[in-house]
Point group: C2
Chain length 324, copies 2
Amino acid sequence: MNTAQAQLGGVLAAGGPELTRLLERTERRLSEVAAAGGPELGGHATATLSAGGKRLRPILVFLCANGDSDDRLVAAAVAVELLHMATLVHDDVLDGAALRRGRPTVFAEGGRLAATATGDLLFSRAFAELAAAGSEDAVRALSAASSALARGELMQRADAWSPDVTPERYVERCRLKTASLFDASCRLGAVFGGRPALATPLGRFGERIGLAFQMLDDVLDVVGPAERTGKPRGADLLDGTVTLPLILARRHDEVLLDLDPPLDAERAAELCHRIAATGALDKARDQALTHVAEAKRSLDDLDLPEPRRRALDLVGDGVVARYA
Amino acid sequence: MNTAQAQLGGVLAAGGPELTRLLERTERRLSEVAAAGGPELGGHATATLSAGGKRLRPILVFLCANGDSDDRLVAAAVAVELLHMATLVHDDVLDGAALRRGRPTVFAEGGRLAATATGDLLFSRAFAELAAAGSEDAVRALSAASSALARGELMQRADAWSPDVTPERYVERCRLKTASLFDASCRLGAVFGGRPALATPLGRFGERIGLAFQMLDDVLDVVGPAERTGKPRGADLLDGTVTLPLILARRHDEVLLDLDPPLDAERAAELCHRIAATGALDKARDQALTHVAEAKRSLDDLDLPEPRRRALDLVGDGVVARYA
């Protein structure tokens, strides 16, 4: 068990047996939904879902609720996870990725068409699932997150290889492509979980956690090693994706301003060293930790039972632990 | 004005000024939704929507309603058209298509990422729009159609270049990739338009019209010419897509059983001649016409006001007129 998994175990302990039960129901429902996609598509969708993942977004849904079990909460948890999986499947198509979490991607196994269709299917099912919860606001929240994810992906590609990406633009991109779904997860949990008055502050908590999650992911990409991240060190550089460590390092090392495709793995590793040498990794990590600290502090103002508060704190710690 | 446009004019006349007003509202809302996608994505989405199209699915929504104006009907019409556009944008990515309706595709203008993200955005917006109508059943109906479209696309690709595709499997594919959204359009119109008891029979009407639409599209692909279809003659053959004319012609010409990629345009044109020589085009067209005739006849059993009945008949005739 690695540090992040241990931390997740802490979250589960703090969330109590009800959280575990809700997550089990979520897994079962995810399997049912994937299997309903017909023989070809269902196989791909099932493989995608069973490849696992931390189910961080469903956990946020449940932890932002008041602890009572409710079918609508499970529907919301399933919906946010399906939407997350849909974007991963489409991202793998765009990146031509062969592996994710150590398993072949749908793109690698079934090709571009199967992967695009699988992503579309997962999108459709996400909305159908949430519709069953019978809340127009909820479907709108998911749709807003879904649009944000698409816009974030596009922004990332528009900024590829650019020497001019500002930290502010980078943060906006993280907000769109990652934090928006964390935000929606928390909001849905609050709305369906008997805490509608806390939807906005809990959404903001989720957004900050999501920002930190993406920032630390981007730091890890430069730090490596591949055994730990599941992708080659400097994968973002190879891809032209301009992340915070590179943006900050460029202020101190002009060589980093002038990157052009194609890079090879050796050159990418060398650039990772140069980025690290400027101290940019610590600065980027500090920004992420600040977001986590502020997210946790923001919970002080909310009227949450102590075990719930502790579990949400542990989610924040878990995001940081992935880095440690 | 070509025959199909003239026929559509007949539909609009039969639908009365209220239909025209509803379609105008639909256009305005489609523009608003596209523009809300942010600068990069909004541009692509707006270009896609303003490239036009027959708006056949919105017309079906309105004609299956009782004629009273209702915001939910416009929401449903916008949703089905957005879903249709989303699949076209993704199809163009998969086909590497440069042109659609004589204009550059999003894929050609913005590349694979922009087009995939634009499709995802249009998907998201479709569900958001329908959610605003506040009906769980409606979102489920759209989701079912959306899943069917994805499954149909996958089935088409799985059957590519296959010598074994049966007419039954072909019809099932048409049902999934085309007729399901016609079906959903009619159902949504009936449900939101004060005719919930007619949702199933009107959905079945839409399904038959959709089947005929796809079948005639596939016949036209073999007939050509490019000036009329907007794509090279035999585009399906070049793509490996096995359609009804080819399936039927294979019973009479063994050369057609053994197709392998890549084909060039000259060979595709020659194969189109061989298919036509077997009489398969007439047989395929007859099957489509039978579906239209049965669709129209099925309306006899429904209690519809005469102008509505006439307008729905004209939609069926319009689908046939594309072929004439």
